[in-house]
Symmetry: D3
Subunit: 331 residues, 6 copies
């Protein structure tokens, strides 16, 4: 481009490319805008932390209203408060959608529900996990029946996906009734610590902040196959922990017994803080993923009540759906 | 039974029958207890008004916790705030569930969600309409994931029923987010007048009080086949209205033109107060049910906007699903 | 209406009603216009002859382009050369579509293909026979890919209907490749006599003229259940033919033997003029419909060749699909 | 026929008709031949007792090997030891197959398995009960893989029918492993008294002889809808039993309590002699069919064990599948 | 093999092997015989050009009439004018069928329709593209109903494959109504230039001759995943075109703008010569396949009409079905 | 661990780990206990011989009755006479179940049927072969209806798997009616030589002892794809047999002709000893798997009878289901 004392008038094409870049940048900021608090990331930053570097393929970006003329009802407004696409986690394909609280409070509209549904449906057909990053003030109720219908579609797609591909929900914003309803379709709910009790009852993993939540998702995925048509990936065997201190007291901590038996540092408890009399989670045995179900003598003397039974049943169903062998421990 | 001066000790069997009657009566009152306001009926009274007299067959009454041992998870507590069953409307079978606000505020629990789902699934298999009488403060959120899962099941069954059997929701209590989500799966929402604007946008028919709402449901059903496997019932031809006053002014009222053409008093507008520039509804032509779609010159000069288009599209889809011919009028 | 010496200016409403009537009349003539030759009826007259009097309910009449705004893609232009709907034949529901050669030569367009598909799909869901009255110069090829796609949809719906509801095609116009392709999806093809050999190979019944063809359809339907979910209707038993002259010559005519055994005048041969060494058809035994399969000694000494085997196999499959018992005769 | 001193030579046609009659008679005797013991009926007699008089329509009779040329693999040999068809029970359509022990010991071959499968599949599509009259020495093992495949098909069709139409098996011959496997797919097994314990554990009703077994089937059917798409038929209300003697002893007989409450003589216990601590069965309340589940204080003090729980769960599933309301009684 | 002055009589086995080779060679020539014109290849040569070298596995070759005794109805005659099988394109499996105009004019018979259907069904189950090389004079109409039924099956399998695996049709012979009907089921139609307008309206890519058509198919496949269960393959990033001349005129050519933005030489327009006011096609962005939708200011000032909308909608549906992100450009 | 003159009391944790190891060892011995005869292996040894070394992942081991509280009905007792899981054969995943005759005679109970069904269902969803090692005295009949229902489920899962994944049954114990019924659902039955004629009619491969049977399974799998969604693996081309002695006599042995044509030592006949007039089997051509169908002049002069036709038809269906090209040879 020729340098000159006063800037030359751009050619029409230059103007267009510039505009394109501006809209592009706007879309990247407008959705998933600047971070909004300590330990909090923007929607786009969250996706970057979640996926292997440089692997994100965005679906439905820069798609505009005009497109409705081609029947593209599903992808109308630029972003519209929700980023969708796919990428890789530890080398395997995963689909993701991320609500952006900076656009209309991340509320669920007919349009962004359609983007979420399209993402879920693609994940189902490809056979890859769905990761939903929720950060929304609920259903955009002022849109009336169309937003409600959008929510119904999200729930339906979630139900279709159940037992077909792993679904993980990360709750990074308010826990409204509608958001809870959508997130609880997932196999796992990960959220930040210090949530209300009703949320913690529903959550499977609690982590310190956004980044920790997203790391937890990556760790969870390492135990899971991409779909019911696969078996879990094999990890390199890292040995067992030879150096565990002896435990002499009664009642002893079953989690420590398990940690001695499975591969070093491989135990990941699920719903650790709910129904503590039953331990469920994942671990590795010589590099292979196993599900763990064990009663915990430390709590209620390890006796099972209704909550523990429900916790266990749900976990066993999940392992069965995804071909994960189960190892049980009883006192 | 021997008469005597002082009442004889009842035999063990008498005692048992008496207890059975008491529990029976309790169930009938406990669920669908006393009316709770002017123009308001109890759940059981609502069912009585809705159905042809003496035709109600209740499913899942008096079924108790113990029954869980037979795998009857779906029907645990006596009533549990929801009455379900089937009966007849104008001689044709219809399924019904009625939430009872007098029990735990009619909140949706895992147990009563299961009863609703069972009712919906039976209606689908039999091929008969589903009528839901909603009167609830929403999801029983303190039950955690199980109540949320119950709600998801209700929405799934509703989605399965869509286009298979007519679904009618009668909103007789608070319009919480959860209740709206469930009700809006129905083909028609009937509610009392004087509701908030967001509800009236969603509702198809507004009526003065409980009884009027239930009469409206009966009238709506008279136009609809039992399922997509049927055609609408034929009514006796009552003639056309010969005596309509002439209308000379411009713009004229399209509803009056339609009323002249269809069978006397047969026009039933749907969503009359929403997107008034488009009239949709049912009527009869020589006794046969037809769907009506017409623009209304009185409003926006009959021009169609997004709301009218959505209103029309939804109605046309419904008519197509249930084999109802459509008659259109244009100015 | 006030009489006066000079005609009064009509009120706006009168004008509108008059216009409506004109358009109505136009639709009834424009599609299914005047009869077009000796022994030939208009599309609308054909439907009248086919169905029980006064039972026709038309679907998609008077529906116009504007309607596309409500998503009514399936029923765009007034008639567009094809009348669709349902009515009754001998008291049982049947669906019908009739191409009208007087509109664009009855050619199959995207729009009228959609009407045919909607009719077939409704017939499948209701569980009632489909009767197609073909009178077309083929696919409206100048519409390009959309007309081809329409044709594909018609064939798909026909395939879905196979074995679910009886399908009868009446060939009343030219036998183009496209029309033959569509008609041959049907279980029975009825056409006028004096057709080309290739058509007569495909046809199941030949009749003198339009009226006779439509009577033949009614007779065929009397043997068939409404769908695979039904059994054939019972007829009153009219006795057997006691007065058949004796047959002494060899080889004798198997058709006469059958006529002696079944109810008087109940035998209806199918594909009588194709593969004459095998007789297939329907008859009644004490009022019940039966399928007949018999070799015919008069032809090839009753030996079976490939054509006869194919004719027999197709007929047996049909009887099995519709729960009709088969009676076989062998020499 | 002219009388004369010496019989005239029959015409060819007379000869043929005579042969046809002979083969017909042979088929009727050869399959379902003479009764084979006290209280035992032939296969054809059993069907006659089971169905309303004169309503049987036989499928696949007189069909011969030759027919294989039309692809009629499913119905090759005349009868081949199994009669199949449909008729009515109390005015409603029911499908039936009856093994005939007088032909090859009633063994299950590829051919008669195909007839049974066709019957079951028709019953499923029509939506009518399947009644199997078993009288067989098992799988015709000398036919090798084809008879085994036939058996697999019977089991598959039975599984498809489960929960779709009621299935009733009547065990009237030996209880071989194969026959038990097929019969136990049914919802109800009815057999003659004085069977081995392993059979009585599996049976739902025991009756004195063939006729009583078939009457029991008719009674059972009176409580059941034709399929999951129906509700049970209504009977005329015959009043309650006013005259029941009082019961004072403890523990009392719950069956007598139930008998007092339900319509007179309407209680039909199912699996009465198995897990007696739980009563399950059918009855009528004001003419409507209900399922009964009650613990029996007379036995184990009414406490439930594994057998009773399984008995109850199976019965409840059945009632739910066929839309029958359940009435429970507890001590 | 013994050498001798006069040729020895071949052993029986030698004779047999020789015959086998002759029949083999005949099959390879008889179907896919010598090339039939300038720029035209034989069926077998076309397959060789289409697939990676040496990867073709033929299905159904040398299969003979006799085989019908094993139920091999689908593959009766040697070749019968159609070669089918699978191989690889750029290392990924693809299924192919090629009509051979040198055998009965390549007409579609029951037998070769069955081979095509088997090929399509295998492609669907394996999840790999279907490439049809059409060179036929249409349906073998003299075979009557069986050839028509064959055609229907081809259309049905094509419909089943839609949205499941990419379908590409290459039109290398006459464009009869039947051939057009079959080919237009495909997602893409590639044909030689200089075709009639009606064909060019239907075609997506035009190429100079047979070889160019087959190269175009390979290029198209490089953008597409093997099935809806995959994502498109990644290509090495070749950089962007730094050297595009500036465009100053108005209206400018949108295709040139796009070419500047996407990877060098990666833009492949689809339906370039139809509805030129809308550009659709594929390109790569940093090695990833994207769909392009853009209006073209050069034509109708880029305004969209019905044809452009249909073109766009069809393309967007395709991209959505196969998980290809879409990039839109507007002026 | 401190050494001392008298053994120290173990810590509670040591005791627990020791117990765990004991139970583990018990499970490994109790199921798949010591070998039970010459040439016979234990269940666990069989699996070790079948799979690639160290690849077995056991499902449902060490799972105990208590687990029923989590809804793990499918996997109740430790082993219960049946080992299930998955591993690899020549690097590809395969699922396996092995009955253990040392536990209750290997009889099929509700519990181990559920383990088998779970294994089959996982194999279907993953798309990998199922290998059943049968060694059982039949259905555990004393469990009544529950064991019968278990058997029905095994048969249903087998039917679901048919044509989806290859199923191989290895008959290593008694051939009871029930075991034959289950095994004959498989595509291939492999068993030891010297079996009864009825078993050899059903078997596809006979081998000298347990090890040879398991090697045969591995060889068979080398020709088969993992599922209908795959094509067979390619092997390295080992050349053709250049050194076959000439055959001059008539009739010659077709197997020797085939051996000359296919890759060296690649021919594996199936059902070699049944219907010897038809040869079916697998071989390789330049490393690719092909199915072979050939008549054998040595037997019945190669004429085909019913048994040969059935043998051929079954084999052709299998090849078609799994995308294996067929090569036919005729004399």
């Amino acid at each position: 481009m020729p340098s000159s004392s006063k800037p030359p008038k751009p050619t029409p094409q230059e103007a267009r490319l510039a505009e394109l870049e501006i809209r592009n940048r706007f879309a990247e900021q407008g959705i998933g805008g600047p971070a909004h608090g300590a330990g909090r990331l923007s929607a786009r930053e969250r996706i970057a932390h979640l996926l292997d570097e440089g692997t994100f393929v965005e679906m439905g970006k820069l798609v505009t209203h005009r497109a409705v003329e081609f029947g593209m009802q599903e992808m109308r407004v630029p972003g519209d408060g929700c980023i969708t696409g796919y990428g890789k986690v530890q080398g395997r394909v995963a689909f993701v959608f991320a609500q952006d609280a900076s656009v209309f409070g991340g509320t669920l509209s007919e349009a962004n529900a359609a983007k979420i549904v399209a993402t879920m449906d693609r994940a189902i057909s490809v056979g890859a996990p769905i990761i939903g990053l929720y950060d929304s003030h609920g259903i955009r109720i002022e849109d009336g029946v169309s937003a409600l219908a959008g929510m119904q579609q999200v729930l339906l797609s979630g139900a279709k996906a159940r037992g077909v591909v792993p679904q993980l929900a990360v709750l990074l914003g308010p826990a409204t009734e509608g958001t809870l309803l959508a997130a609880s379709i997932a196999d796992f709910i990960v959220t930040r610590k210090n949530v209300t009790e009703s949320v913690s009852n529903v959550a499977h993993l609690l982590a310190a902040d956004d980044e920790a939540c997203l790391r937890a998702v990556r760790e969870l995925l390492s135990f899971l196959p991409s779909s019911y048509r696969d078996v879990s990936p094999m990890s390199a065997y890292v040995g067992q922990d030879a150096n565990v201190p002896e435990i002499e007291d009664e009642p002893y901590d079953m989690a420590e017994v398990i940690a001695k038996i499975v591969d070093t540092d491989s135990l990941l408890q699920v719903q650790e803080h709910h129904a503590r009399n039953l331990i469920v989670g994942f671990a590795r045995m010589e590099g292979r993923a196993v599900g763990i179900v064990a009663n915990q003598p430390l709590c209620l003397e390890g006796a099972l009540d209704g909550d523990a039974a429900a916790k266990g049943a749900r976990f066993v169903r999940l392992c069965n759906a995804f071909n994960i062998p189960i190892l049980t421990f009883e006192d």
